[in-house]
Amino acid sequence: MDDLYQTVDSVDCSPAMEEQERMVEAILFATAEPLTVSQIGNRMPLGCDPVTALARLVKRYEGRGVRLSRVGNSWAFRTAADLGYLMQTETVVQRRLSRAAVETLAIIAYHQPVTRTEIEEIRGVTVSRGTIDILLELGWIKLGRRRESPGRPVTFVVTPNFLDHFGLSSTRDLPGLKELRETGLLSSEPSPREDAADTGLAPVAADIDQHRMAA
């Protein structure tokens, strides 16, 4: 731990890293909302290095009752998830989302940016206005860039708020994302079946063949 207490060169007028760490700690402790690195930096004296200070702070709080979490480009202190049971008084009653809303949210999170039509294709039903509205109202999704395709449809993406709520550092940390990608379930088409035998779909075909023969 001695290295934490390094002192600055006399020529360097910026505060010692140890001191910068304290500053970031104080700034983040004081807010409930995640702050971006530049927001943090703006509140520190000139010449500070919030990124390094943050990295050190993350380490310091590892395993503690409070953790320093990354939320997209921002940072926030959050209590450790395993201690949630102690916070009954603080627990916010979570609004129960309809199945349609949960599915739509998952589709947006895993497929983003995604158009309404694409959501409908995946779900096989039209997306009711209310579903999108609820997600927008919760601040979990927002409009992304318009798709550069005929009609320039709007797209939806998840927000930093979504990441914060679900304790994700980035959308790359979505559970199961890698497997979904590997199995091709995030593409809009079934994976090409060059050799049907080695895809998961082969049995379907084989099965059909059996039926055909039976018929």
Binding site: R78, Q94, L105, R123, V125, L180, P203, V204
Partner: protein, 284 residues
């Protein structure tokens, strides 16, 4: 969740024993109509309130019944089951939403294509490919559904982890910085000096008794004027020596007298044009 309207017969038993194998969901109100027809039959009308959300959802539920990995699913079996279900609903005069019927028609077509070993024409897509595509859609929907469930079950802010309970409000200090340019400065100086240059335009006030001065002079005097008297008698003495002063004083005194009359403090009278103007304090 959509709860069906309650009818007097609680725990309503209607037809469709087969419903046991089709946990029927009412997802959208228009999805299944006329379900209330013929409540006399004794069979249970099971309504799963969790609701199917469209034909794909129903298909997925049916596919799950095959109890295999979705990748191993028999699309043909699935098509059969779906068509059976639709037929069943029709038999019971339960009208289905159009999209269920569209799916039924498509599946009937797919089934025929799968069963008939004829080669597809050029503009037709291979039936196996259609089947694979359907399987893919089901698998994808299932995956997304699982992701949603997993997401909702994950640690959540305000439930499993918490933000700072008493955030300290960052005080915003407004720092006002004033600016002025050299041009502002020069123009200001020019303005000031120009103003100076123009002061001579004002006329000299040395020979003028202002109305204000006249008022101040007259007010105490008039108060004592209980009888009618010539207004000119009340003029400041020092202003009478000089002709110009006297003229100014006369005009101002007259204006002041009118002002006092207007305020109801004195009365003024003049018997005829150019006659003496007389004033006296107003009697209350």
């Amino acid at each position: 969740m959509i709860y069906l309207p309650r009818t007097p017969s609680a725990n309503r038993r209607t037809r469709a024993r087969a419903m046991d194998s089709f946990p029927l969901d009412i997802s959208e109100e228009h999805a299944f109509e006329d379900y209330n027809d013929g409540p006399a039959t004794s069979e249970t009308f099971i309504v799963d309130v969790d609701g199917y959300e469209g034909p794909l959802d129903l298909l997925l539920a049916l596919a799950r019944k095959q109890k295999v990995d979705l990748r191993m699913i028999s699309v043909l079996d699935l098509a059969n089951q779906y068509l059976q279900f639709i037929e069943h609903m029709n038999r019971n005069r339960i009208r289905l939403a159009a999209n269920y019927l569209v799916m039924a028609a498509w599946l009937a077509y797919l089934k025929s294509r799968l069963l008939l070993p004829e080669k597809p024409t050029d503009d037709e897509i291979d039936a196996d490919e259609l089947a694979a595509r359907l399987a893919f859609q089901l698998e994808r929907l299932e995956a997304m559904r699982k992701c949603g469930t997993r997401l909702m079950a994950s640690d959540r802010l305000g439930k499993d982890f918490f933000s700072r309970g008493c955030p300290e409000v960052a005080e915003t200090r407004r720092h006002v910085s004033f600016t002025a340019s050299i041009l502002d400065l020069l123009q200001a100086y020019a303005r000031v000096r120009t103003r100076d240059d123009f002061t001579p335009l004002g006329c000299s006030r040395n020979h003028v008794l202002t109305v204000k001065q006249a008022l101040e002079h007259l007010r105490p005097l008039f108060r004592q004027a209980l009888e009618w008297g010539n207004m000119l008698r009340f003029m400041p003495r020092s202003w009478l020596a000089n002709q110009a002063h006297c003229r100014s004083a006369t005009a101002s005194t007259f204006a002041a007298a009118l002002e006092l009359a207007k305020r109801g403090q004195i009365e003024i009278r003049q018997s005829e044009s150019f006659a003496e103007i007389q004033v006296r304090a107003r009697r209350s």
